[in-house]
Structures are given as C-alpha cells and as structure tokens.
C-alpha cells in the first residue's frame, strides 16, 4: 500500500496546492514541498525495508509489490512494484522535484497554485511510470505525465512556448499511441498463446512470438521510448521544449522525463522481446552513437544557452541508448549512473541557465560574456557542471560514460570506439559554453545579484551528489544490482550479439 501512497502523495499534494493559492500565494509552495518531502520519507521507509526483498519466482527480487483490481474485464489491474532500478529513479524524481519547487520559489509568481498542481502531477505520473507493472497502467501514467507538462510549458514558458509545448506533446503522444498499439498487440498475442487477456508485466514476460511479430511489437515500444529518450532522429522536440519551459520544467523534463524513455527500454523492451532486441541492438547502438555525435555537434553550434544544454542532453542520452543495448552488467550499471548523473548535472545547468535568464533577461550567449567578474558563484557552479557534463573523472557523468563505453566495448568494440569520440565533442560544447557565458570580456551590464542562499543550497546538494556519484558510486550499484538482475533474469543468456558471440 505504501507504493500507492508513493504515487498518490504528489497527486494529493497537487490537488491541495491548487486551491491553496486562493488562500495565500506562497501556500502552494509549502504544500508541494511538504508533499514531496513526505513522499521522500515514504520512499526512504520502503528502502529501509529493502533488506527483506520479496522474491517472486523467476521474476527477481522486489522491494515492494502492490496489486489491486482495476478493470478486471480487460485483464487490467493496478499493479505497482519497486525494485532497485525504480527506487533510484524515483529517488531522482523526488530529489529533483523538491529542487524544482525550491528554484521556482522566486521564479514563479503567477498562478502558483496551478503551477504546483501541474508540477506535482507530472511527478506523480513519472513515479507511476517507474512503478507500474501493468502495461495499461504504465501507458496511463505515461500519458498522465504529459498533460501537466504541457501546461507547465504552455503557461509559464518563454516567448515561443505554445509552439514548443504543442511540439513536445505531438511527438510524445504520437509515439505513445504507437506504443499503445504495440502493448495491445502484445496482449492479444499473449491471449492467443495462453488464453488469458492480461496486461500484467509478469505474465507477459516470456510470451512466445514469431520473430517477425516480436520485432514489430518491439519496434512499437521502442519508438515511444526513443522519442522520449530522445534518440536522433526523433529528438527535435527536445530543444524547443527544454528551451521554452520554465526552469523547473526544464529540470523535470531533462532530469526525469527523459529517463522514462530509458527506463522503458530497460524494463520493457529488452525483457519482453529479448530476441528481437538482440537483433535490433546494432541499429539501436548505431542510433545511440549518432545521437552522441550529432547532439554534441548541434550543441556546439547553439547561441541559446538552454538550447545548448538541451542538445547536450541528446548527446548524453545517446550514451544511455548505447549502454542499454550493450546489455551487460557493466554497461547497465553505467546506464543507471549516467541517468542519475545526467539528471543532476543537466538539471543544475538548467538552473544555472534559468538564473542567468532571470538576471539578464536573455538566453543568448552572444549577449553574455565575462560574467565571472560579476557573478563568481554562479559562474563557478556553471563551470563545475559544464565540466561534469564533459565527463571529468571524479564526477558522476564520467562513471556513467566510462562504464557504458567499457560495457559496450565488450559487446561491440566498434560502437564503443565511435562513442568515445563523443567525449571529445562534449569537451567542445561544454567549453564553448563556459567561454561564451562566463569567460571573455564582460559584455552584459552588471547584473543585480549573485545566487542567493536557497539556490546555493540546492547547488551545494547537487554538487555533493555528483561528486559522491563520481567518487563512491558503489551504493548506487548495490541498489541497482537487484533491479538489473530482475531485468537480466528475463534474458538469461544476455543479449545474443549480432555476431553470435555472447558477451
């Protein structure tokens, strides 16, 4: 039941926060903060109980499982499950959620109630995505995430918000519908196979299919996930959405929402369709490599700081795609760390960009320059995270990228070598950002104030987190291990590689 609360608390908080704005303008903020903190406590409580995991025969170890009837006529149940992988991602979600509330404290002054409602509902949907073990429920929460996010962008976004919001929505929803087709097709194939019509993840695992069928259904899933991830060439919604969203929206989008794509690939695509996934792996890895390079090239070319960070996300998540389809322990652990580290570092960069925009009223880097002199703290923090995102050892991103590439090398050396080139291009865009923004001759008029205390606190937490990830990621690995074992249990032999060599 705690699992349902995990999902429900933000939703309830959102429902409370909305009308609370009538009472006092700051009330929604406090309510949101309280709801998310409470949720975090629930999660930690669950985590503390993880020493006695629930063992489901053949389905791995779960920290908690919940199953309630929902639409029995259609074989749909309200089924949630928490394992190591989802635990980490929910943790990330809540962490960034709390941070988003804090950074919106001063940025969002209009319609605070509705803002926090949307923020919390997006988070609730995301948590649902990470917990859902029923494919219908998964799709339900997958869609639930979108609408509030649309509002966040369309209402509190910047100059081109409507276009960006609609583009974001169309891409995700269009691909989501294709995934829906695939989910239903899977359910029907399963019904034909076994006679039961169900959307339960556990029951659908191991459904026998013709190779062609498996491939088509898997492609339906993959489309939705790579659009969300995003992988080239389905990424073009991302720069617009990230750029136009308010800071909290960008943080949530980049930090959390993109991870749902990766999570979907991990949780559903490979375990449900191991054979097709292994056939598809080279293509996916190629897409990953293309994403790494292409995203970095585009990031380098941008003048808008948020666009730059957005394209850098494309590049970073290329690594994730690469790692997922390498499907060995090293690469998968790398994927987990990369997701967390990307969430933290990119989130922090968006906060930095948001702070800059708040102070300079532009995102155009050609109008920045030399900010170090006036805003040393902001600049130092911005540079720190730029460096983190170029993958400096000792910081979290490096661990992720290194493990992914190492794992990939064991599976497909050529892709690893190509992906490693991304390390060079990452340096190019991260440093050009630092140069254009913080270095160079001071151009903009001296802005008012450096970061204030709440922001500094947030940044300190993020810095600490990313250094911790970089120097001692073992706790993350330990938590993720059980989750990854659950996934790999579905593919006992690992992904058979294209050249037929087991990893």
């Amino acid at each position: 039941m705690m699992l349902a609360w995990l999902m429900a608390l933000p939703a309830i908080g959102g429902l409370l926060a909305w009308p609370a704005a009538l009472w006092h303008r700051a009330a929604p903020r406090w309510i949101s903060l309280a709801a998310l903190t409470l949720d975090l406590l629930v999660l930690l409580h669950l985590w503390s109980g993880s020493s006695a995991p629930i063992d489901i025969t053949g389905r791995g170890q779960w920290i908690a499982i919940l199953q309630l009837p929902w639409i029995p006529q259609l074989g749909i149940s309200f089924q949630l499950g928490l394992d190591g992988l989802s635990l980490l991602l929910v943790l990330l979600t809540l962490g960034l959620g709390i941070i988003s509330v804090i950074i919106s404290w001063t940025e969002i002054t209009e319609r605070t109630g509705f803002f926090h409602f949307n923020l919390l509902w997006t988070l609730s949907g995301t948590i649902g995505v990470f917990l859902a073990l029923d494919l219908f429920l998964f799709f339900f929460t997958w869609e639930i995430m979108l609408v509030p996010m649309y509002f966040l962008i369309a209402l509190w976004g910047h100059e081109n918000r409507t276009y960006a919001a609609i583009k974001f929505f169309l891409f995700t929803q269009g691909s989501g519908l294709v995934m829906l087709l695939a989910i239903l097709a899977l359910a029907f194939v399963h019904q034909r196979e076994t006679g039961t019509f169900t959307f339960s993840y556990f029951q659908l695992l191991g459904t026998k299919m013709q190779p062609a069928t498996e491939m088509w259904i898997m492609l339906g899933f993959i489309l939705a996930f790579v659009v969300k991830l995003p992988a080239v060439p389905f990424h073009t919604w991302l720069p617009d959405a990230h750029t136009q969203a308010p800071t909290a929206g960008s943080v949530i989008l980049a930090g959390v929402l993109l991870k749902t794509g990766a999570y979907g690939l991990l949780r559903f695509v490979v375990p449900l369709f191991p054979l097709a996934a292994s056939r598809f792996a080279p293509v996916a890895m190629l897409l990953g490599v293309i994403g790494i390079i292409y995203g970095a090239l585009l990031a380098f070319g941008q003048n808008d700081i948020k666009r730059l960070v957005a394209y850098s996300s494309v590049s970073h998540l290329g690594f994730v795609l690469l790692g997922i389809f390498a499907w060995n322990t090293l690469a998968l652990q790398g994927v987990v760390v990369q997701m967390l580290a990307h969430g933290i570092s990119t989130g922090a960069l968006f906060i930095t960009a948001g702070a800059l925009q708040e102070r300079l009223h532009t995102r155009d880097m050609s109008r920045f320059g030399g900010l170090w002199a006036n805003l040393p703290r902001l600049s130092a923090i911005g540079m720190f995270f730029a460096i983190a995102s170029l993958g400096l050892p000792g910081l979290g991103n490096f661990i992720g990228e290194f493990l992914i590439l190492l794992g990939t090398y064991q599976a497909h050396p050529a892709f690893a070598v190509a992906g490693t080139l991304g390390v060079i291009t990452a340096a190019a865009y991260a440093l050009i950002m630092v140069q254009k923004t913080f270095h160079g001759p001071p151009r903009a008029a001296a802005p008012a104030a450096d970061l204030h205390a709440p922001h500094m606190a947030v940044m300190a937490v993020l810095i600490a987190a990313i250094i911790w990830l970089g120097l001692y990621p073992q706790p993350v690995f330990d938590v993720a291990t059980s989750g990854l074992a659950n996934l790999q249990a579905a593919t006992p032999d690992g992904l058979l590689l294209a050249d037929g060599r087991p990893p």
């Binding site: 080239v232 060439p233 990424h235 073009t236 720069p239 090239l297 585009l298 380098f300 070319g301 941008q302 322990t329 090293l330 652990q333 030399g370 170090w372 002199a373 040393p376 703290r377 130092a380 460096i387 400096l392 050892p393 000792g394 490096f398 661990i399 290194f402 493990l403 590439l405 190492l406 090398y409 064991q410 050396p413 690893a416 070598v417 490693t420 080139l421 390390v423 060079i424 340096a427 190019a428 440093l431 050009i432 140069q435 913080f438 270095h439 160079g440 001759p441 001071p442 120097l471 001692y472 990621p473 073992q474 690995f477």
Partner: protein
Amino acid sequence: MLHAIWLVPAIPLLGAVILIIGCGRLPSLLVSIIGVGSVALSAIIASFISIGFITTPPPGNAFTIILWHWMAIGSFSPAIGFYLDPLSLIMMLVVTIIGFFILLYSSEFMAGDEGYSRFFAYMNLFVAAMLVLVLARDLLFLYAGWEGVGLCSYLLIGFWYQDPANGLAARKAFIVTRIGDTGLMIGLFLLFTHLGTLEIQPLMLRATQSWPAGSTMPTLAAVLILIGAIGKSAQIPLQTWLPDAMAGPTPVSALIHAATMVTAGVYLIARTHMLFALAPAVQMAVAVIGAATLLVAAFAALNQHDIKRILAYSTISQIGYMFLALGVGAWSAAIFHFMVHAFFKALLFLAAGAITMRLHHEHDIFRMGGLARRLPVAFWSFFIGAASLAALPLITAGFYSKEMILSATWAEGGRIPVLWAAGVITAFLTSLYIFRAVFIVFFGDLKTPVSGHYGPRITLPLIALSLLALIGGFVETPEGLGGITLFSKFLASVFGEAPVVSGSAANLRLLAASLVSLAGAGLAYALYMRSSPRFTAWAATPAVLGWRRFLFTGWGFDRLYNALAVRPFLAIVRVNRNDAVDYVYQIIALTCRMAHQFLHQSQTGRIRWYAGWLAAGSLVTIAISVLQ
C-alpha cells in the same frame, strides 16, 4: 610512514577545496599560506616517505595502499589507491618539490591579481591531480589524475579569462589533449576486456604472460596508450597546443607545461613499459616520434621571438628526447632526463617570468636586451638554465641526462644511427636557439625600461632551482666520467638493470656531443652577439624569410589542422545550426497544412456541391462494394 602516502595528494586537494569554498573572499596572505603551505607540507611528507622508502624498502620494493574501492561490478573493481615504487617516488618528489618552489614563486609573482585565490586553488588542484596521476595504483585512477591535470591546465591557461585569445588557447589545449585521452580511454577498454583488470602491476604481468611479443593485442594496446601519451606530452602530431598554452601565467607554464604535466606521457609509457616491450613496432614508433619531434620543435624554437614560446618549443623538443629514450628502451634515461628537465625548464620559465614581470609583461625577446646587468638574478638563473638545457659539458645536469639518452640511442641504433644523429643535431640546435635567446635578451642595448624589484619569494626558488639544474645530474654519470649509477640502480627494480655503455668509442662520442653543444653556443654568439650584416641580409632574403615564417608557425601544423578538421567542423556546425532533422518534421507539418487548405476550400458552402459529393461518394461506395 608509507601509509601516510595518501596525505601527499590529499593535502593540496584540501587546500584547493578550502580556497574554492572561500570563493575569493579570503585575505591574500591566508590564501598564499594555504596555497603554498599545503604543497610545502605535501613535499615534506613526500620527502619523509622517500627517506623511509629508501632506508627501509618495503617488500618487493613497492608499496600499495587502497583507500576504498571505487567501484565493484563483477570483476571490474578499480580502487582509489596508491602505488609507490622508485619510479613514482621520483615523480612524486619532483612534483612536490618543484611544485613547492613554483608556488612560492607565484605567491609573489601573482600578487595583486584579482584571481589570486582562484590561481592557488587551481594550482593546488593541479598538484593534487598530478600526484594522483603518478601515484595511482589503477590505470583508471591514473586516468582520473590524467584528466584532472588536463582540466587544471585548461583552467590555468585561460586563467586571465577576459581575453578571448586565452580562452581559445585553453580550449585548444584541452581538446587536443582530449583527442589523445580518448585513445588512452579506448586502451583501457581493451586492456580490461582482454586482461580483466586495470591494476597496473598485475595488468603488466598478465600482459607478458598471455600475450606473445609482437602480437596484435599488445601492439594495439600500446598504440592506444601511445596516442594518449602523445596528446599529453605534446609530441607530433598533437604538439600544436603547447606553444599556445603559454597564454597562462608564467608559473603555470613552468609547473604544468614544462616540469610536470607534459611529461605525464613519458611517465605513462615508462609505467607501462612492459607493454611496450611486447610491442617492438610501437616502441620503435615512440622513438621515431621522439626524434621527429626533437628536430621539428627545435627548428621552430629557433624562429620564435616570444620568450615563452621559445621555451615551449624547447619543452616539446626536450620531451622528444625522453620519447627517444623510451623508444630505445632506455627507461631510466628518460626518467632521468625528465627530472633534470624539470629542474632546468622550471628554472628557465621562472627566470623568464622574472624578466617579464619587470618589463611590464613584455614577451618579445627583440624588445628586450641588455638585461644582464640590470637583472642579475634573472640573468644568472636563466643562464644556468640555458646552459643546462644546452647541455654544456660537465658542469650542467642536462649534459649528463642527454648523454645517457644519446649513448642509449647509439647502442640501440643499429647500422645507421639515424635516431642518434637526430639527437645530436638537436643538441646543436638546442644550444643555438637557447643561446640566441640569452644573447638577445641579456646583451646589447636596453630596449624596455625596467621597473620594480624582486622579493625573496622570487629569488629563493630561482637560486634553489639553479643549484638543482647544475648539480642534479651527478646522480648518474657516464662510464667515462665516473660511472655513477645511483639513479638507474634506484630504478632497477622497476625497469631492470640498464646496460652499461663503455669503451673508447663511447668516450669519443661523448666528446663529440660536448663539442656539438659548445659549437651551438658559439655559433649563437657569432650570429647574435656580433650581428654580422651578411647573416642579417641572408636571413632577410625572401626564400629564407618564407622558411622562417613557416618555422615560426611551428611547421604550419595549425594551418593544416584548421583546414582539415577545425574549419570543416565549424562549417558543419554552422550549416546544421538549426538541425536539419527538424526540417523533416516541418515538411510533415507543412503537408498537413496544405492538405488542410485544400480540404478547407472544398467546403464551399454551396449545397449543390455538397450534394454532388454525396452522389460521388455513393458512386464510389457502390463501386467498391459491388465491383470490387
């Protein structure tokens, strides 16, 4: 005692962290105490550790300590841990001691700079990262230090951030070295994938056990490591970043771009020398690259007029010697030269800094002159450094280290001693270009007014380093000159016994090499002290001028790379700034819009038209239903 080894990098790191958190608000005195003091402390600890190590060597002449396991995923378990053996001990000492002197120097040199605490923060961070690099037990941890020093190099080259040129130089340095780092990273993948560990010592052992010499795998691995080393150590073809890196403050150039970081490649190859021994072809390539770099950089140095750029090319060239030594298997010679080079090159840079700070940061040697009498401390230290660099016989440390390399090269050289010849020619050129600088800068007429004065924090390091540059070579002398082998004996547990070169032929070569460097100095005197009109006229002929310009730009490597890589990259970026992929979606959107317009216009509002469609639809429906 040895267990305190972790303090050596940790103390500078702590200093850096304090300075960063202090965020520029600490008083400058406190900053310098923290900045210099932490490295001093580290140097003292390092010294005690060294004494302990030498007096009571640990079993196997090596000591390992693991602080914590960085990660443990299956068999992949790199540790945050240190490995101390004679090689890393020497590196550690050089880094901490030279680092201490340079930081001491900086505390005065940088006084008054608005980024004073930032400077010390970065420098301390650098020292910490460099110590990690040399002390790391695992290749991955080494890589962390490797990237860390790269980052600090970037930060310090671009230290004066308001000038975009500095930023460009910094980025160039970072990205070019990163190209090399990528090679190293792939090398790590390969090594771990095939040998199952990244701990250096077991790794080397496994490599020798499981890979036959000359086979593909060690060759590949060695090539990848070599790429990393080339990038870091500014060897051909990745040398172009180093001259530009001189944009940073002079102490930075001294510490990072002369004494320590740029020689990390040498250390890396020495550290993994067993692997290179398994790949003779690659080892040959190391030697060839070293020899080529020697010559190329020396010629370029001859044509510079920025004093720091002369030194930069000289550094490239001198590292070429080290590579040459590595390539011929004279591992300890390479390390010996590394150490000596650290002494005299740091000295040269600090002296150059001492000059420029008194000349309002004038770097052009042709606008200096006659400084010998006005700046005696700077002159004498620069002169000693130059002598050591030029390897003036007997009295300078450079003489002994260079001799060791040249004799090893001769021994390895085979029938045609091309490599040896390159070394000797470069010795001549080295002498020529550095004395060219000496004569132009210190003699002749005073061209720029001198101001200010030196405090003890500048003179002390200069004196100390001068001493080292003179006497530092007596730990290893050729057979003909006493045959002291303290240094190579000490390293023998790492590299094995070095072969002793002896005989009259060796002494003859020794004599010849000495004459060569003296001849270079002499020629410099002839050309630049007594400016001969014939030489000036010859130097101004168009053909020569063209060559000089070509050499001035460092053999046109920058232009080549601009044309081959940088410009195409920028062109692609510019063309694709708006993301070509997005056009696909825009076309889809446009198609929908056009379809909408078309259909929209079909809604004419006319009833007969509507009825017509009704009839037509019916016609089609009937046709499909019946005639299908």
